[in-house]
Amino acid sequence: MAEHVEAHEHGHEEHHPRLQHHFQDMRTQQHAARLGMWLFLATEILLFGGLFCAYSYYRTLFPEAWKECSKHLNRPFGLLETFDLITSSFTMVLAIHFTRIGNRKLSVLMLLATATMGFGFLGLHGYEYYHEWLEGALPGKYYHFEEVTATGAPMFYAVYFLMTGLHSAHVFIGGVVLLVLTYLTAKGNYDASYDHPLDLGGLYWHLVDLIWIFLFPLLYLV
């Protein structure tokens, strides 16, 4: 991620100050950057794909445990977190939109809102983790949650913690990237003619949202 952002900061060519010497023009450069980002996102999807595979595997083996444990997750919290991430995705596209129409102030504001919601999500999820820790609903051998004793319940929590944990790690990285982007936008690095890093950061943030869109019903609702 940071690589991509960085890779496009320094250029030296007569056409556009941001054009790197080995690209024909800005269009090709943006196309390359975006394609690279999409490929990176594909690897992220497959990284989570492994966990989705584990999820479906153990769900097939322990359907009862899945039913019971999923009821014990905090559904309203999950709903709140979903709204949080959807809204942050929305503010992210608005930030790019405002950069493109030349309103830097609003853009910075939107980026800050996005980052805040990102870290807010982490806070909400941290509270959930804390609650589960108190209950003893922990993965594998640490499991001592009295209320659910179905076969495979520890496995549900293992899958739950691994999936949400990996996702939260992504939210954290995304949040840090957003803060850097906010700083650079405020400095005036991006405008209507050059917003590639913002664009790529946005793609990454939407991916984080996209994965949560699937995690929420899989873990909390069904």
Binding site: E6, A54, P139, G140
Partner: protein, 565 residues
Amino acid sequence: MSSPSPSPTTTPAVPVEPKNYLNCETGVRSWLLTRDHKRIGLMFLACVTAALFLGGLFAMLIRIELLTPDETIMSAQTYNRMFTLHGVVMIFLFMIPAIPSGFGNFVLPMMIGAEDVAFPRLNLASWYIYLAGAAFALWGMVHGGADTGWTFYTPYSTTTFTKVVPILLGAFIIGFSSIATGINFIVTVHTMRGPGLTWNKLPLFVWSIYATSIIQVLATPILGITVLLTAIEHAFGFGIFDPAHGGDPVLFQHMFWFYSHPAVYIMVLPAMAVMSEIVPTFARKNIFGYKAIAYSSVGIALVGFFAWGHHLFTSGQSTFNAGVFGVISMIVGVFTAIKVFNWVGTLYKGRIRFSTPFAYFCGFIYLLVFGGMTGVALATVSLDVHWQDTYFVIAHFHFIMVGATLMAFLAALHYWFPKMFGRTYSEGWGLVAASLIILGFNATFIPQFLLGNAGMPRRYWSYPAEFQALNVASTAGASLLAFGFLTILVYLTIALFYGEKVGRNPWGSRGYEWNSPSPPPKHNFDSPQVFDHPPHDYDSEGHEPEMQTEVHGGTEVHGDDGAKR
């Protein structure tokens, strides 16, 4: 130029020491912070060569231990670590990055007329990530190693007390290097092709590396999550793969082989890439069935993903799944067969020139045919039941992966050596080493096929006495192989400093990369490239393939070149 060249590249200026990518900047800093794909390629080559010798050392120790049925030089525990480290080093540190990250980095941008890859910084980062991963893995090896086999099957890998976690994390980190290189090449091929270079004009090397990159990008993340989960499991006991906590080891096998089967093609496709360049050059003829070879590369890349289940035939898989995975494995075999026929077809009515790279091609085609056919035999489900996890499998995958990949690595090294350094090596020694290696390889692994037939399981430190004769034969072959490698190391090192200087295109190849001087300048070409002829084009009217410094075979020199000017 005595014959009209299609691409006006050479400039008549004769500097005493022309500036090239090697001498344009000097100092350690200029290498460590370089963004030049050629230098990064060379740095990768240096690292993978070191890994090759490290892995080879482990292999020799294994073979020496197996000289006698019981303890020869090491205990069972040490032996288990040896074969694990041999596998880990050879696969993750040598074979996966060797040709794509090393030679691919060097020649791919030149083949498409680009100044550099799309993301030069990412490219350098890929090298550093590789180093970091290697450092992690080596740290783990020094502090206890692992004794699980490179497949890390759970629950053994999650309960053993050896240093599995750092080695798994090393593999995880190296995976990112692989992904970074893959992304870089895909984007480069999509966006940086020179004017007039359409998809159907891409050299076959580019096609194969492109297919390899697809696999790297799509498969490596799954390995990443798998080894990460295994490391978490080993460290914290979440139970995700461990039946003692409710998990199922079969899931691990599925996730592991979903990466590791396509990984075989990450190793073999680049080998095919190199050979598709070498065959037309030395047969002096356009490649037979360009489209078949190009598209079958991508076909292998995609269909190869469907076949992973054949590693689980004996794990209690149902007949239904065995059927599905078996048929798909056979289809992958057909793609490879197409390529073999096309290469051999290229020789037909050619003007074949025998030289070191071509010698390796001969070794390659033989090993690929034999390794491929035994692969098909292994995909035949009922036969696999007998061979699974025996030395037959070992011999098979060494034939196909090492035999083919190593042959291609050495062929590529000898083929592009003049381009990389502007010097050449002693052809006589090249042929001697090639024969040593090909002979040694067969002597090592043909006995192992027979051992597998006889039923000797893999990863055995001690074995029943009746297997000894074949094991001794195998060890003898391995020493021949080791001797061959040392020979190459010596004469190539000498050639690096004292080798005869050569011109732009010593092989008279029609590959686009040979249009650049040897060694190439920093931005690859002295003038922009125009791609007005198809790749591997040896027969268009008026396109007489120019023969430059003819250093091999004692024949006369035709055409002019940098060295003679």
